[in-house]
């Protein structure tokens, strides 16, 4: 069993360093492939490993890459020179990973990010982990020190394959120049088949510099990784009977509905049988929130009516969700009277957190159509639908705007929603602002809500806006607006990517809901730590409007209600990146709230109910 990279390299006669050991000293010592080695327009002809890598990416349909240069990845960048792939140089590799992730979410194609070895690769890690938790298709290419130096603690060496093993769907150490293109093509395809997820290929510099004439073949996912889209028919029939017989049926659409391009099938399914719909947070946009059947999204900060419905349903039709703890609250009180129909492409999600009475393993859209064919009569749910409507009236999503209190952040979200079209893409960081952006914006289309769910990565918003903008432009939709709601804390983590937006002239609007707190932590401290604001109160923040101007973006500061609409209008009309620093009420809390591990049906409507 060859469990070390070293063993494999011994077996690998093709992995000879093509350039001197001085390469390990960084870019200055690099010996990039010469001009004559570049592709001459014929994509299948290659002369180096790096050219094979780029040929594989082009053949797989990659159009855009986000990355940061560096010593060990230089040969790949050199081969990108003159490629059809558009490359955006990001300020930081984390930004490259988030931008690629968001690009993938918006386009439905795998995002692509590049970084050099060592710190370049480790800076990608947060973004890769984020994509892994949210099942986003993404390929990361990392440079690596030449194979003969691997394991010697060479300059900028990190065991990238080891570091990223638990946060990728699969990763590869490409030790063979003749096969490197095929490996990259396979990794690209693997990221999107079945349950999507990030893949990574680690590219030693000698391999990418090495001579090879082996052009990549047609890219294919590894055998056994592209599952059967259809669920077993007997299981479908059994689930269909359960749905027909339900008194209180409820659909729960997760992110898998969007990733499986099943939003249309999901809408038809719910409407055909009049089944009320709630979504998970990643499932936002799978079902229009302005539809009468929509109860918006459920979970910790979900609507009261969604959480009442999910608590009282007797048949939960869950599609493409992994029953995350932020959705379920305490497992003992989650949909406690429901038979669960669970549709998922990943068998390992079946009965992982919530027991599935009717497991349906398959593609979301395909299985919904199978169910549609198998159901012969709609469940008798008039009374249940009325109850759901009553809950909407009993627990409306409202907020107060007293004259003697500062600007409310929810008002800002609603103002943007009113000023923009339905196809507007919203990105966020993580925290209170993210919750308000999801609660007070009415989402109607898939791939318009771009956020960090599972990992909860503060700082996701700005690089995601860059990726989303580039994606919309690449799709030929330059008129779509991209709005990033960010918190002051989140913005400080990745705002350097604003430099990319200015340099590349990207039309994005960043709305910082600035409360000078790590607001969600402050809210929890007030609720659970007797109000001790340890390390959550910034006390001082830079002036983000002026900072934006220094970057070359439009900067606006807003303090009062009257200034909101004009500022929103000006920023949206501005052709380029704009930042509005909204100084909002620092004491505002996100409600409703199900305390961690609590019962969804016992959501708090005020802080003193926690």
């Amino acid at each position: 069993m060859s469990d070390s990279a070293a063993h494999q390299r011994e077996d690998d006669p093709d992995a000879e360093p093509a350039s001197g050991p001085a390469d390990a000293d960084g870019p200055d010592a690099a010996d990039p492939a010469g001009e004559e080695n570049r592709p001459d327009g014929e994509p299948t002809e290659v002369s180096t490993g790096a050219e094979s890598v780029v040929a594989a990416l082009e053949a797989a349909g990659a159009e855009t890459a986000f990355g940061v240069q560096g010593g060990a990845i230089m040969p790949v960048y050199d081969a990108l020179y003159g490629s059809s792939i558009r490359h955006l140089t990001m300020a930081h590799e984390q930004g490259a990973a988030h931008a690629a992730d968001a690009y993938g979410v918006v386009t439905g194609e795998p995002g692509l990010c590049l970084a050099t070895s060592g710190p370049g690769a480790t800076n990608l890690v947060t973004g890769i982990a984020d994509a892994d938790m949210d099942s986003d298709a993404m390929l990361a290419l990392t440079g690596q020190v030449p194979t003969e130096f691997v394991g010697n603690d060479a300059f900028q060496e990190t065991d990238t394959v080891g570091v990223t093993r638990p946060i990728t769907k699969h990763n590869y150490f490409a030790g063979d120049a003749d096969a490197v293109g095929d490996v990259v093509g396979e990794a690209f395809e693997l990221s999107r088949v079945g349950r999507p997820g990030p893949t990574l290929v680690d590219l030693p510099k000698d391999v990418t510099l090495s001579d090879t004439e082996e052009a990549p073949g047609e890219a294919e996912a590894p055998a056994g990784t592209d599952p059967d889209p259809r669920a077993r028919q007997d299981a479908v029939e059994a689930a269909a009977r359960a749905i027909e017989d339900a008194d209180r049926p409820l659909c729960l659409f997760g992110g898998g509905v969007i990733k499986g391009e099943a939003s249309e099938a999901a809408r038809e399914f719910a409407r055909a049988y009049g089944i009320p719909v709630t979504t998970t947070m990643p499932g936002i946009g799978s079902f229009p929130e302005d539809d009468e059947l929509s109860l918006s999204w459920a979970g910790m900060h979900g609507t009261g009516y969604a959480n009442m419905a999910i608590t009282h349903t007797d048949c939960l039709i869950a599609v493409g969700t992994r029953f995350d703890d932020r959705l379920t609250g305490g497992i003992d009180t989650f949909a406690p009277e429901a038979e669960v129909v669970h549709v998922d492409i990943d068998p390992a999600e079946i009965s992982k957190n919530v027991y599935a009475d009717y497991p349906l393993i398959g593609d979301a859209g395909t299985v919904l159509e199978q169910l549609h064919e198998a159901i012969h009569r709609a469940p008798d749910a008039d009374e249940w639908r009325e109850r759901c409507q009553e809950w909407k009236e009993t627990y409306p999503m409202t907020y107060a705007t007293p004259d003697d209190e500062p600007l409310k952040p929810q008002f800002v979200v609603e103002a943007f929603d009113e000023a923009t079209d339905d196809d507007t893409i919203v990105t966020t960081g993580v925290g209170q602002h993210q919750m308000w952006a999801s609660q007070f914006w009415t989402y109607t289309e898939p791939r318009t809500w771009v956020s960090s769910h599972g990992l909860g990565t503060m700082g996701y918003g700005v690089p995601a806006a860059v990726g989303a903008r580039v994606a919309a432009d690449a799709m030929g939709e330059p008129d779509r607006d991209v709005v990033c709601f960010d918190g002051d804390g989140s913005f400080l983590m990745t705002m350097q990517e604003l430099s990319v937006a200015v340099r590349e002239d990207l039309d994005i609007t960043i709305a910082v809901l600035n409360n000078e707190y790590i607001g969600m932590v402050r809210q929890w401290q007030d609720a659970f730590f007797e109000g001790r604001h340890m390390a959550s109160d910034y006390n001082w923040m830079p002036e983000f409007d002026k900072l934006a101007e220094a970057f070359g973006a439009l900067g606006i500061r807003v303090d009062g209600y009257d200034e909101v609409a004009p500022a929103v209008e000006e920023a949206l009309a501005y052709d380029g990146p704009a930042v509005i620093d909204f100084h909002v009420d620092p004491e505002e809390n996100v409600l409703p709230m199900v305390p961690s591990g609590g019962a969804n049906g016992r959501f708090a409507l005020a802080e003193d109910q926690l």
Binding site: D3, S4, G162, R165, G224, P336, E337, T398, L605, D608
Partner: protein, 217 residues
């Protein structure tokens, strides 16, 4: 909402709302109306046929540790098929836990097939045991009793090799304890199914890359 006295959002407080009476157990099973017993953990032997590529052992052991599966032993070795290895794991888990291990392992790209080895499988372990050498005759007698073999004998220590299933090995170790065990090394259990039954379900030795067919529905 702001300040201590603000009302928050409208609607009945948690205690004023109807709550369902049903519950789920920690494994997500509905307790009501069908009472599902809590699962006890049990010992299971999991066998996986894997592609012998760099990092495959790290992928499997990393999966086991990350998902907090209780593992007793893990052995690995080549098969007669070029490029294939067999990994045998002994785990102590509930039925849903064992199900999760199999499903999560099946998702690893180098895993060709994986499954629990049936209870009647042939299992065996090899142990090297070093004891004090003051009573060589007695040591040799006990070694013989357990079909063991002395591999090294000197004036101070005797090293014995034993093979067998878990209960035999445990009994032997107890018997050698009287001499004072200086060092011990165990390989962990390895296993094969009896007769014509494939050791991992759906396993087709000799068909490189043949995918697992999960039998989960």
């Amino acid at each position: 909402m702001s300040g201590e006295d603000a009302a928050g959002m409208p609607g009945p407080a948690p205690d004023e709302r109807p709550q369902p009476e049903g519950r789920r157990n920690l494994e997500g099973h509905r307790i009501d109306p069908v009472v599902e017993a809590e699962h006890d953990s049990r010992r299971a032997v999991i066998s996986a046929l894997v592609e012998d590529e760099p990092g495959v052992l790290a992928r499997v052991s990393g999966l086991v540790s990350r998902r907090q599966f209780n593992i007793e032993s893990l052995t690995v070795g080549p098969t007669t098929v070029e490029g294939h290895s067999r990994i045998t794991m002994v785990v102590e888990e509930t039925d849903p836990g064992i199900d999760q291990i199999e499903k999560q392992m099946a998702k690893l790209k180098p895993v060709i097939s994986v499954g629990e080895v049936s209870g009647s499988a042939v299992t065996s372990e090899l142990v090297l045991l070093k004891v004090h050498g003051e009573e060589p005759d007695k040591v040799h007698a006990i070694a013989e009793m357990y079909d063991g073999e002395a591999l090294d004998a000197g004036p101070e220590t005797i090293t014995v090799q034993l093979t067998g299933d878990e209960s035999k090995i445990d009994d032997a170790i107890d018997a050698f304890d009287q001499f004072g065990i200086i060092e011990i090394a165990r390989t962990g259990q390895t296993a094969l199914a009896r007769g014509n039954i494939p050791t991992a379900p759906g396993e087709k030795p000799g068909t490189a890359g043949e995918p697992t067919t999960p039998n989960t529905q």
